[in-house]
């Protein structure tokens, strides 16, 4: 069996452009025939963005959706409301520090909070797989109820569907939240301004590494727990600063790096962060290094990033630190006029590098 490159190994036609020799020899043309969904489309990186931009947005576009924020602001008679929806497919369903139930409640409440909205109610839709044990389901519902109680937000509508064994991974949950605005706190991804100080409320990468370590059966000396938490009270700490809070973001899927990139692009500003100030717990860092992952791209579920005007930055940091969820808050970086739409990291040696959006999921390295 002998063949040349370009001939199909698995049956699909290969699309290749003819090599241009004008600029000297070049590599062979890329694979462009992605004709179906891949896992990378769910990573929160460039593939996710392209999926939405190329397939959903052109056909479903409207003003509210067009802001690409954590939650959309919708005009209704009497004012504005915030609406957000999120679907949770985490595996394992239960992990150190939480389960899919608490995650689904906190995740959507956090998305509303990141717009400055005060959450009013939630809906929850469940896809249950035949054979899911009631023990597990009960623990998930218990965790949801506890999270709702803590936040003071009720689930006002719900739905359950059951699919055959093998058609879902235990259970999936969708939650939708509605919030209202009642003061001057109206952060948005496009409001970052040159001179803003970037605060982060706590250590990064805990959720993603907790789930990954648990899923892969990796045993570390200490158990890494998810940071899953409701950020509404932390946002409450910032209400007093009103319009001086420019952007709030909970860096979930895709991690802090993706969140900062999205903000830099939405606001058309440069973002500069200091490597030495990135807060990563030592056990999480060790797990990341073992797996060859960059903690900046690992998911968080209980951390917020705040872009605030420099005048109130010190006070805002102090306010965040007064809440237990924010006791380890630090200054992560600043907004600069240089390199608009780019996130640049300054390392301890004085070198710099660009922190880009990843194309898809981070892939563990060989060695």
């Amino acid at each position: 069996m002998s063949r040349t490159p370009g001939k199909s190994a698995t049956g699909a036609a290969a699309v290749r452009s003819a090599p241009s020799l004008a600029n000297g020899p070049v590599c062979p043309a890329p694979i462009t025939t992605v004709d179906r969904v891949q896992l990378g489309h769910g990573s929160g990186g460039k593939m996710s963005a392209a999926l939405v931009a190329e397939r959903f947005w052109p056909k479903l576009q409207n003003d509210a959706l067009g802001k690409f924020a954590d939650a959309s602001v919708v005009q209704v008679s009497g004012g504005e409301i915030a609406v957000s929806t999120d679907t949770f497919v985490v595996q394992p369903i239960e992990f150190p520090g939480g389960n899919i139930g608490s995650l689904a409640v906190n995740g959507t409440l956090n998305d509303l909070a990141m717009m400055g909205a005060r959450p009013v109610c939630l809906t929850a839709g469940f896809v249950l797989e035949e054979g899911l044990s009631f023990d597990v389901l009960d623990r998930v519902i218990d965790a949801m109820a506890a999270a709702c109680r803590e936040a003071g937000v009720p689930v006002v509508a719900g739905d359950t569907k059951v699919v055959e064994r093998g058609k879902a991974d235990g259970l999936y949950v969708n939650t939708t939240g509605v919030g209202v605005f009642d003061d001057a706190l109206r952060p948005a991804p496009h409001r970052a301004t040159v001179g803003d100080v970037i605060l982060v409320s706590g250590p990064l990468a805990r959720h993603g590494m907790a789930v990954m370590a648990f899923r892969e059966g990796l045993a570390f000396e200490s158990e890494i727990t998810s940071d899953s938490a409701c950020l509404v009270p932390l946002v409450q700490q910032l209400r007093m600063f009103g319009a001086d809070v420019h952007v709030l973001r909970d860096p979930t899927r895709g991690g802090a790096a993706s969140a900062l990139n999205e903000i830099a692009q939405s606001s058309n500003v440069g973002v500069e962060i200091d490597e030495s100030s990135i807060p990563v717990p030592s056990d999480v860092r060790a797990a990341c290094e073992m797996l060859g992952l960059d903690p900046l791209y690992v998911a968080n579920e209980g951390v917020l990033i705040a872009f605030v005007s420099s005048e109130i930055a010190v006070q805002a940091l102090h306010q965040i630190r007064r809440h237990p969820l924010g006791s380890h808050a630090v200054v992560l970086g600043r907004v600069v006029a240089e390199h608009p739409r780019m996130v640049v990291l300054r390392n301890a040696l004085g070198g710099t590098r660009v922190v880009d959006l990843l194309p898809g999921d981070q892939l563990p390295r060989i060695c």
Partner: protein, 370 residues
Amino acid sequence: MKFLSEYRDAQIAKAVIERIKAEATQRWCLMEVCGGQTHTIVRQGIDELLEDAIEMIHGPGCPVCVTPLEQIDKALLIAARPEVLFTSFGDMLRVPGSDCDLQQVRARGGDVRIVYSPLDALALAQRNPTKEVVFFAVGFETTAPANAMAVWRARELGVKNFSVLVSHVTVPPAITAIMEAPDNRVQGFLAAGHVCAVMGWTEYEPLAAKYQVPIVVTGFEPVDILEGMLLVVRQLEAGRHEVENQYVRSVRREGTPAARVTVDRVFELGNRKWRGIGEIPMSGLKLRDEFAAFDAEVKFGVQDLTVEEPAECRAGDVLTGRLKPPKCSAFGTRCTPEHPLGALMVSAEGACAAYYHIGRYRPEATGAAT
């Protein structure tokens, strides 16, 4: 962290940088062999900080990057088979073969899974007796002992539904190929610490003597790499060409004999193609005949598949140090991590991806990573 934080200490690193600048009387051209070292150098901006004293050429030490198209295509063919559960280290999943990659095979229904150890793949085989579990055994001497151990254990345990697709390469023949190249500019090597932790450095001694080139066994943290560079520069300045060991906390001259024995029992040297470089004689490891039952190429009848590397691909120029990734006309435009033209753009350790992801912001650049 003992043996780690001190090798990341910025003050120590800055002091070593100043030493190198002070001792180098000319701009020396060094090559780091290993992809892990490339990653640290580019990530920390070490090459930039030492630009006037040292030119770093990024060597062929990323296993993902040098795996030939042929082996990738074999992997794709095997992984697409319905009875196969194909396992691999993560970064092989996006390496493009002739017309797709393992992620796309998975999206089309293939059972492709990421594992962290070949022994995990063996365990999968035991848990899934009706599936043929194949592990993509890629890497340099570093991953060879674990891969050899998996095959050895499979035979001991009588696991018949486990096989490995071998694409192992070894470092010394690559150094020979680089030094023999007519336009070679490399004057000194940082050898890969982890490879030497297994193999030791005795096989580098004749290379240093024959090509009169300093070789320093070097670790992976910023201070390791800077110390390795300093040792090479000192040799060059003094006109010496020896094998030295910077990575003393991990590497002994004889390596790890138990690991070498395991590798020798299962593998033997054979010719191997390198992506972008071509075939290098006796540069790879292949399964010994007595382990043929665990050879996925034999089991799935793909051993005769040959795929020619595209002649116009510049990966070879990058791998041999003739071309810096940003100088490639496709870099960052037609070749990006989303649409990699070659394996060098896929793995974080690939020189092209390292430059792309960790591109530098230069004030004179107009908004583009360079």
